[in-house]
């Protein structure tokens, strides 16, 4: 048997039986799945959206609440701060007067120019 003929025989025996036959049933099965693909796609989109959207929403709400609490909470005022605040007022009071207009001297000596 020549190689060409031998190969032809092999194709007939081994490869031809693999060939599927056309089937309308197959086409309809594919089309049924195709018709359902849109809702499935939408579901997948929604699922992928919720996968990051809900955690992101939760995180932003938590940080917002935390920011509100921190700003609304009254800060404990230390005596240092109180003194420093006063000092500024006092220093401006001192600065506004010239040496001649020293209120302390005025009060102590009772001199009134």
């Amino acid at each position: 048997m020549d190689p060409e003929q031998e190969w032809h025989q092999i194709v007939e025996t081994l490869l031809q039986p693999l060939r599927a036959e056309g089937s309308e049933f197959f086409v309809q099965n594919v089309m049924r799945k195709v018709r359902h693909v849109a809702p499935r796609e939408a579901r997948l989109l929604w699922r992928s959206f919720t996968r990051w959207a809900f955690p992101a929403l939760g995180l932003s709400m938590t940080s917002f609440a935390l920011a509100c609490v921190l700003t609304m909470r009254s800060a404990p005022i230390s005596t240092d701060v109180l003194f420093l605040g006063d000092e500024q007022t006092v220093s401006t009071d001192w600065a506004s007067h010239s040496l001649n207009e020293d209120p302390l001297l005025d009060s102590s000596t009772g001199v009134n120019p």
């Binding site: 025989q9 031809q16 039986p17 599927a20 594919v30 089309m31």
Partner: protein, 198 residues
């Protein structure tokens, strides 16, 4: 503009039912390719349906540079390879398993003889012939079976096969040559055995 491309544009414009024409036109090729990969008719049917579905979903990404058939072939091949990877190596029905069980190196030759007889007699039992052929073809790799089907059954040119397999013209020729050689060697072994018996 090719007919396929017109249909694709209609589908993309919203006419989903037009996709049935593409499925009808290429179902035989895709189902045959899936059979050659998976060597299981039922599994191949499901794989072919999934391949068409994947092609439908990916249709907006289709470019006209390749034919729709080559494109859908590639989708089907990748899908079948994924399935094969998942199931690793299905040995229950494969010839390897039979050989392991019976330790008979001439098993292939004797099965080939049965297949030849069935072909000569024009046996009507197509399922049986198909099952036998699948068993015999399991000696080839998936890639070798794929290339043989593309060339011998679908009649694709070397260039078309190259675009499906993403390989050069020389690569296609070399792979095809190796696949043919392997089958011919086995068939010759059967013929030699037969002539010795006679």
């Amino acid at each position: 503009m090719s007919d396929d491309f017109k249909i694709i544009q209609a589908v993309l414009a919203g006419d989903r039912e037009a996709y049935a024409d593409l499925v009808r036109a290429y179902q035989v090729q895709v189902r045959t390719l899936c059979r050659s990969f998976l060597l299981d008719p039922a599994e191949a049917e499901d794989a072919a349906q999934e391949a068409f579905l994947k092609a439908f979903i990916a249709l907006p990404r289709y470019r006209q540079e390749t034919s729709f058939l080559a494109w859908v072939y590639r989708i089907a091949s990748n899908h079948c390879l994924d399935l094969l990877r998942k199931r690793k190596r299905h040995k229950t029905d494969s010839l390897d398993n039979l050989m392991d069980q019976k330790g008979d190196s001439g098993m292939w030759a004797s099965l080939y003889g049965t297949a030849l007889e069935a072909t000569d007699e024009g046996s009507q039992d197509k399922e049986e012939r198909s099952r036998l052929a699948m068993q015999l073809l399991s000696i080839l790799s998936e890639e070798q079976r794929q290339i043989l089907v593309l060339r011998e059954l679908d009649g694709l040119s070397y260039e078309e096969i190259g675009s499906v397999l993403h390989c050069s013209l020389d690569g296609v020729k070399a792979r095809l040559h190796r696949a043919r050689q392997k089958l011919q060697e086995k068939a010759r072994h059967f013929l030699d055995q037969n002539s010795l018996i006679k």
